[in-house]
């Protein structure tokens, strides 16, 4: 199973090139780096798959597949040494756990998708059998892509849990649970399921007071996701020129963001660098695969982002656009997948019926003298024709897999948008809460009743409170206000 081309051999470049250098990166794999992504330091691949049996949670015997993850330090390779890789076995559910962790911990990042849990969009012949060797192979490829993408993400790749996943076979699960991410996930889930609407989606209060690294990251990631969504394979060479020059912006931070843009492209560039890197990608030399070009996409997106990424600009509108786009993408890819499944089903039928010709020609040849040989061989050809459909459709599965990746990416994108909506909503709630608390505080401390309130009424009717009581209440309110302000701060940060 060891295929040479699969290993990512990324030439390490001098990390000291800190400045906003770029554009010199031609079509080779040299890179400009600020903080190296994991992929730069480590070579990762999912080499094999094996069947295992064991007892599951309810103490029943079950069979499952495990995948071998191999890692090798990059510097060793660069030096020409060829050390044996470190390896460990992981099953699909562990990958899932890792991804869920990442989703909760980095809600503003579009997390790369996993290959599907169950075979969806099947046509009748392909049983939804998770043990089917073709399915296992495609899943292995999908898992490897997932790891490579995560490891090349500037933010995700530095996560400790990810490191653990790749290096410590046992005890990893416990460490993940200890992070308590699930509690966060639960609360989020509850909020998400509650129907809510940000009161003013175009509210400028979504503060982008400080150019926060994450804002641009998110937007660029979106752009990137758009790009990668659309050219999962191809001819997308390592050097990405900047599509715009930094506007005259005094803030140094801004310039470094532009650098970020370039840096972001490179790691993924190598991932998606066409042949001979990845058999999966190489196999997609199908015409359909060459369908979508990256350049244009990325160009347009970054242009639109460059225009709008000024502080205080309407971020919400962009999110609306993103959400809309992800909806469209989702609908189209799933339509396409369903239509393809139906087409495959029908085509299979056509080919298989031709197989009947094989039998009848063979029988006919028995009663013929001169024509006998010709008819026999005609029959054989018909049989061969009928049998050929299996390989044809299996190859097409790779194309379907790529469409599924788009589909999942669209879903992940959508999830990010929803989370943004949610945090915005929470921010508004917190802000309002804070305002009302401040109001109460003011009322109490000044004794002036601004607005009609029950307290005001009771005061008029029963006389004002004793000063001590008032003090106590004031104190309490102050504390609450402080808490409120903290909450607002947190939410603001999260929004960004």
């Amino acid at each position: 199973m060891a295929e040479d081309g699969r290993e990512e051999s990324v030439a390490a470049d001098d990390d000291s090139q800190h400045t906003a250098e770029d554009g010199r990166n031609g079509l080779n794999n040299t890179m400009v780096e600020e903080s190296p992504t994991l992929l730069r330091r480590m070579e990762i691949c999912v080499a094999e798959a094996e069947k295992r049996s064991g007892k599951n949670a309810v103490n029943m015997q079950e069979t499952f597949t495990v995948y071998l993850i191999e890692t090798r330090p990059m510097d060793a390779l660069a030096e020409g040494r060829n050390p044996a890789p470190d390896s460990l076995w992981r099953r699909y559910s562990e990958f899932e756990l890792l991804r869920n962790y990442l989703l909760v911990s980095f809600p503003y990042i579009v997390v790369p998708p996993l290959p599907e849990k169950r075979a969806e969009f099947v046509w009748h012949k392909l049983s939804a059998d998770n043990m089917d060797p073709d399915f296992v192979e495609r899943r292995r490829v999908g898992l490897e892509n997932f790891l490579l993408r995560v490891a090349s993400h500037p933010v995700l790749s530095n996560d400790k849990i990810l490191h653990h996943f790749l290096t410590e076979e046992h005890g990893w699960k416990e460490v993940v649970y200890e992070t308590g991410f699930q509690a966060k996930a639960d609360s989020r889930l509850k909020a998400l399921s509650a129907t809510f609407r940000p009161t003013n989606p175009l509210d400028q209060r979504c503060p982008v007071l400080v150019i926060n690294p994450f804002v641009l990251d998110l937007l660029l990631l979106f752009g990137l996701a758009g790009v990668k969504l659309l050219h999962l394979l191809l001819d997308h060479h390592g050097g990405h020129r900047r599509t715009h020059h930094p506007t005259v912006d005094p803030e140094n931070l801004r310039i470094s963001k532009v650098v970020v843009s370039n840096r972001l492209t490179h790691p993924l560039d190598t991932v998606f660098n066409f042949s001979p890197v990845h058999p999966f990608l190489a196999a997609s030399a199908l015409p359909c695969g060459q369908l979508l070009s990256s350049r244009e996409r990325f160009a347009s997106r970054t242009k639109s982002l460059a225009v709008h990424s000024l502080p205080g600009e309407d971020v919400s509108q962009r999110f609306m656009d993103m959400k809309h786009y992800s909806d469209e993408l989702q609908s189209h890819t799933s339509q396409l997948l369903r239509a393809r499944a139906r087409v495959a089903d029908r085509l299979y039928g056509v080919y298989k019926v031709h197989g009947n010709y094989g039998r009848v020609f063979s029988e006919w040849s028995a009663i013929e003298r001169e024509m006998g040989d010709g008819l026999q061989s005609a029959g054989h050809h018909m049989d061969a024709y009928a049998a050929s459909i299996d390989d044809i459709l299996e190859e097409e599965e790779h194309y379907a897999d790529q469409l599924k990746e788009y589909l999942f990416y669209a879903e992940a994108l959508r999830a990010v948008c929803r989370k943004h909506e949610l945090t915005q909503f929470e921010l508004e709630m917190a802000t309002q809460d804070l305002i009302s608390k401040k109001q109460q505080h003011e009322e109490l401390s000044t004794g002036i009743v601004r607005t009609f309130s029950f307290k005001g009424m009771t005061n008029k009717l029963f006389g004002q409170e004793a000063p001590e009581q008032r003090e106590a209440r004031l104190k309490l309110l102050e504390e609450l206000i402080e808490e409120g302000e903290e909450a607002v701060k947190d939410k603001t940060v999260e929004c960004e």
Partner: protein, 408 residues
């Protein structure tokens, strides 16, 4: 010797560039390479079919026209004849005939030449509700079958000299003759029933003939069913494929920069659909009718075989009777018995000769049929392939386009 048609069609690519479609893999070129290895014997026998050098009677059926009268509506066909035979007064003739006339001819031939295999006519009756008798497709198919019928008769060394054929090809108005046809038909069938002799043993070669006919009939029926099933499955496939192409077109709406590639894919799918649809139409028009024609042929051959059996039975019956009588009162062999013997021997000889001729024609016809089917399939796939290949070019162009715009 064999004329195999290679259809060279204009294949359009998505950007309109025509493409050469004759592929080295086509069946005719394969034949040309294998010609030398052909069985010589088979070749010799097959010259029965196409001895164009010796032919002196050429007939064609074409030019269908609709006739509307107060009583009925029907189609006539032009029957053209070119000949150098002395039996014909003129070297060329041109008459119009309708199906009824062909039917009359066939009946006359059957009656006057009962020991020979008469080619079949296309189906006489069509259910009015199911098939449109005047649709272009139906008329075209029928005309082709009538043409084949007439050509086969004209090529037959015995049948082509039949006076009824002569009348059919030359007389302006056949209607008068047709009245006699019904009467004589009735007469013949009465004669046959009156025979009533039972055959004890069919000679081996005719047994083999009978078995072959039965098995072949079966196989043809199976092939017909399979072909129809394929057509059905194919049309359902085409429906789904069209929908699939449509999704790409509608996707353009949300991906403006990808307009050209997506529309390119949609275009390719459409081209493939068109190619496959043409293939299906061709199968309906050219493949299935031949199968059906041979099924009818087999039926008529079986009838002739039965007639042969009957004449043999009659002879043997009479012979037996005569022998018994001879033993009793020493009378010489009656003349009828000898006549019967002659009749049987003639019958056997004619049938054998026709059988060989029929076999070689059949080989030729099916060779043409199957290679035609293969050629058409190749053609259809080549069209699809050309479209997809041009799409690859389009996509690659787009990529280089994008790259250059990036560097600007």
């Amino acid at each position: 010797m064999f004329s195999i048609n290679l259809e060279m069609q204009e294949v359009g690519l998505t950007n309109g560039t025509p493409v050469e479609t004759s592929s080295p893999a086509s069946t005719s070129s394969l034949f040309n390479r294998l010609q030398l290895e052909d069985d010589l014997e088979a070749d010799v026998r097959d010259t029965y079919a196409d001895s164009t050098e010796m032919r002196d009677l050429f007939v064609t059926v074409d030019d269908p026209k609709k006739h509307v009268s107060t009583m009925e509506t029907y189609i006539t066909y032009r029957v053209s004849t070119k000949t150098s035979r002395v039996e014909f007064d003129l070297p060329e003739y041109c008459v119009r005939r309708r199906y009824q006339d062909f039917d009359w001819l066939r009946i006359k031939l059957e009656d006057s030449q009962p020991t020979h295999l008469i080619p079949p006519l296309p189906e006489k009756f069509v259910m009015k509700g199911v098939v449109d008798r005047f649709s272009e497709e139906f008329v075209e198919t029928r005309m082709k079958a009538l043409d084949k019928f007439l050509k086969r008769v004209a090529d037959h060394p015995v049948l082509s000299f039949n006076p009824h054929l002569n009348a059919f090809l030359t007389v302006k108005d056949l209607n008068k003759r047709q009245g006699l046809a019904l009467l004589s038909k009735v007469g013949e069938s009465v004669k046959h029933v009156a025979g009533g002799y039972k055959l004890r043993a069919r000679p081996a070669e005719f047994c083999a003939m009978g078995e072959y006919l039965d098995t072949f009939n079966q196989k043809l029926g199976t092939i017909d069913r399979i072909a129809q099933r394929i057509l059905k499955e194919q049309s359902e496939y085409l429906t789904e494929l069209r929908e699939y192409g449509g999704v790409y077109s509608s996707w353009v709406g949300s991906e403006e920069e990808l307009r050209r590639p997506l529309e390119g894919v949609a275009g390719c799918v459409t081209t493939s659909c068109g190619a496959l649809e043409d293939l299906g139409d061709n199968m309906s028009l050219d493949f299935l009718p031949v199968l059906r024609e041979y099924v009818l042929y087999l039926e008529s051959i079986k009838n002739v075989l039965r007639k042969r059996d009957q004449s043999q039975a009659e002879y043997e019956g009479r012979l037996e009777a005569a022998i018994l009588r001879k033993q009793e009162d020493r009378t010489p062999m009656p003349l009828e018995v000898e006549k019967c013997q002659d009749k049987v021997e003639c019958f056997n000889a004619d049938l054998k000769a026709d059988w060989e001729r029929w076999q070689s024609n059949k080989r030729h016809d099916f060779k043409q049929l199957l290679t035609g089917m293969a050629d058409r399939n190749i053609n259809s796939y080549e069209k699809s392939q050309a479209a997809w290949e041009s799409l690859i070019t389009l996509l690659q162009d787009k990529q280089t386009e994008d790259k250059t715009s990036e560097t600007n």
